[in-house]
Symmetry: C2
Subunit: 511 residues, 2 copies
């Protein structure tokens, strides 16, 4: 037990206040995406900018630095894994980085992100990329100013390194590029073998008519098995699904619905519930501190994609899901069988929308964004040329011609909402999910039997014990090592895909 | 046009930042009462306390005082009615008052209010006043500390004056007591005449089965006629209905439903929509300033109760409402006639729940609370004795025995949520509504014909022009004078009640 010194205690108090302000920011963002009338957009942007200004000033104040230095002395001999030592390390890293950003720029970034979010909603509804171009110009202009604050520090080697680091701490562009290159090197040949030689599954049943109210019941069944409970969670509809923790005991997920494609609502909700379990599983001791939320977005995405794809689209859990789908949705789905469902939801088919992509082509959507983003950040691609660049590269990667921007460059909210450098974490999440999936199977040998019986608690508890409870105490590499995995690697997820898709497509993919 | 000086401009900026923080506070309160999972209550209370601490510090800072003094000099020769002069006057008053309150006490009040709100939800659901007694003790203890900060200033003559002033600026306890005494002196004999000699209307139709989904359609019709538009408004369900403006272009109302008593949802929504129209009607020029919201709660309540009772329960608009009720609710209500509806919704009947009370007995509910509140604030009534005191006085006023606390002392959220001194504004609102109702009829002679034809715009625009657009620029007395009414008085509302109830009960009440 570390004795808490005076500076550390005051630092903890200040961080708790900042966490309280983060609570309000999370709520304002959640509200903007789920409830706020459109007319409230301008006022919301002002509010979020003011909140950011106040938070940034409080965090970057000289006084915070003084407390931090004192706390560093007080924890010099503390256990490196103690909450106190981890807190001080994290605050030091964040403080040094935040000090390089002028308060006005931080506030402008928050304002532009909120404004861009509203511009995107309109642009997407009308599939008119011209109406959101000014918001995008503004976001990337601010990003370039933000990058300038940081280049030359922390070993960043390029502009994109700076952005990536905000979502995936310590990760570098060249590492991502190498991982993605290895990943596509495996995926592209696999995809062409599947479509060329495999037995293509029939997925017509996924497009059966299914009223939203019935889908809601199905989703409620699935997520309550996962651990959703109305006492501490809620779920709402939105345009672009997300999960967020407002504060301790208050986790919120969102999804969207398609009356003739029930997997959108079901797998979207399981995905977000996976994120939510991470946030809900952080040790309550870490609440009201910067340690109290998930570590890198890659680790976060590993949780959502594991629950969505490895559980939700895996053969074992389809034994539970198929009867549920049959009972809740009825109609053309009234007698759907587990094998039939399993084959249908694992059909590989190049498509326009990232969040609806199958598990194998998904990462190609990320590669596209990763490439374009780097050029937007370093200025070699102009916003006005973005839609055309998107469509051209999309055709090269997927062989499909984008017909309108809503199914092209306008499909994602990220760039409009100022989330630049965020996309790679989705594919990194796939890799990490593959690694952790092998770890949990090693730790729980009969896991597949449990999943087939609808028992999800061993998986959830293993994840809580090995990942969730630590919050942001450890880096991604440290977390993976503690969980029994090596550094981020490509092989596990490709093994998983080859196994599953080989079985679905009746092909020997072991080579 | 006032030339904006340097201090004034900086003061305006600071007030805009405070309005932004107010936006977040309003959102957090709205969310707590409509969306937040119960488990999030403790974190929400911490967040609101931190937000209050920061807002209070920013507002009461010496620097704000310096800007204020400078702005006073700069506006010394400004038109007294100009936005600038009004702003400086309002800030001076609020600043002097806020400076007397230590930041920690302000934060504790916010924390206790949020915690008490959650305690009340549980206590009310279980009708167990013991579970919310500690929260109530805490709130009144803090109130007594708050009162101590202010007694001896601003001409307060008693502890209750201090509390009342927060909701009804410049109003004094003795004035309220005199108005209430005159009001009950008219109401009580009127009530006994109605029940003794009158022809009691049949209100059985109000209790017809009406599915909530159909009631929602009815309410949507009614409030959209009033001016509700989804572009800048939203409506949600809650336990205790309220209206709030989050920010410019974002007004939110709430209601609740009873499947066998449709007036709860309908009139509740019209009431809250009346509040919302006030907030939505403030001149956008006043947004992001303390002038940008309604003046005293009495004026606010005059708006809600005018729309609910004088429009919604008035004979002219019943000509529109009855066919709507018939079409939307159907069933036993499929052929309800305007006269029949008008008589039913104006039946006078002592009842337990304030918000469901008829227009005539309503103010007696307020008298009860006003009396008890004074004793709770000055300490002559202990929390533990409150339920019994409530029940005893309730019997004296209404002749009814309270059977459980949910229909007694637990029915209202106010005391639990720290809103102490708030209740009288409801009855003051009735008085002001009576006064303004006479003014608008004088200004728009054919108003009743318009209402009967479903044309609500003349009323709404008169209110916007004379009341809403001014925000908090003027005091209640000034507002009433500008609108053509005198100081707050009892006669107009009692004239209105005698007219309407005389007609419904077929009695000559002109004496």
């Amino acid at each position: 037990m570390t004795r808490v010194g005076e500076h550390l205690r005051d630092l903890q108090l200040r961080m708790a206040e900042l966490a309280d302000l983060g609570h309000l920011s999370a709520l304002a963002h959640w509200d903007q995406q789920t409830k706020m009338p459109h007319g409230g957009g301008a006022a919301r942007a002002e509010s979020l900018a003011t909140l950011e200004r106040i938070s940034h000033d409080l965090f970057t104040a000289d006084e915070t630095g003084r407390l931090l230095e004192g706390a560093e002395r007080e924890t010099a001999t503390a256990e490196p894994d103690s909450d106190e030592a981890c807190l001080v390390r994290l605050v030091r890293r964040d403080w040094d980085k935040a000090r390089r950003v002028p308060t006005e720029l931080a506030a402008e970034l928050a304002h532009a992100a909120s404004t861009g979010q509203e511009a995107w909603v309109i642009a997407r509804a009308t599939s008119d990329s011209a109406t959101f171009a000014p918001a995008l110009e503004r976001n990337f202009e601010l990003v370039r100013r933000y990058v300038e604050c940081h280049l030359g520090h922390d070993g960043y080697e390029c502009a994109y390194d700076v952005m990536l680091d905000d979502y995936e701490p310590r990760m570098r562009t060249k590492t991502v590029a190498a991982l993605f290159s290895e990943l596509t090197g495996t995926l592209v040949p696999l995809l062409s073998r599947l479509t060329g030689e495999g037995s293509v599954p029939d997925d017509a049943l996924l497009f059966a008519e299914a009223p939203v109210e019935r889908q809601r019941e199905l989703v409620a069944d699935a997520i309550s098995m996962m651990g959703f409970t109305p006492e501490t969670w809620r779920m709402d509809d939105t345009v672009h699904p997300f999960a967020t923790r407002i504060g301790d005991g208050d986790v919120r997920i969102t999804t969207r619905w398609d009356e003739t494609y029930f997997p959108m609502g079901l797998y979207g909700a399981m995905h977000e519930c996976g994120h939510g379990l991470y946030e809900a599983g952080v040790d309550p001791r870490l609440a009201r501190s910067p340690l109290g939320s998930g570590e890198s977005l890659g680790v976060h995405e590993s949780q959502s994609r594991m629950w969505e794809n490895m559980v939700g689209r895996g053969r074992p859990f389809c034994a539970v899901l198929a009867p549920l789908v049959a009972r809740r949705l009825g109609g053309a789905l009234a007698s759907v069988q587990p094998d039939e469902l399993h084959r249908a939801v694992n059909r590989v088919k190049p498509s326009f929308i990232r969040v609806e992509a199958d598990e194998a082509t998904y990462s190609l959507h990320i590669v596209l964004r990763f490439e374009l983003e780097q050029r937007l950040v370093d200025g070699s691609l102009a916003i006005k040329d973005l839609p055309e660049a998107w469509n051209q590269r999309f055709y090269e990667l997927f062989g499909l011609e984008v017909q309108n921007d809503a199914e092209g460059v306008l499909q994602d909210v990220h760039w409009s909402a100022g989330l630049i450098g965020y996309f790679p974490t989705y594919a990194l999440g796939n890799l990490i999910a593959g690694q952790l999936w092998e770890c949990v199977h090693a730790a729980v040998p009969d896991l597949d039997d449990q999943l087939a019986a609808g028992q999800l608690s061993s998986l959830r508890e293993w994840l809580r014990e090995n990942i969730h409870r630590h919050g942001s105490k450890f880096t991604t590499d440290e977390l993976l090592q503690r969980a029994g995995a090596g550094p981020i690697s490509v092989a596990p997820v490709t093994r998983h895909l080859k196994d599953k898709l080989g079985s679905v497509y009746e092909l020997d993919t072991s080579a």
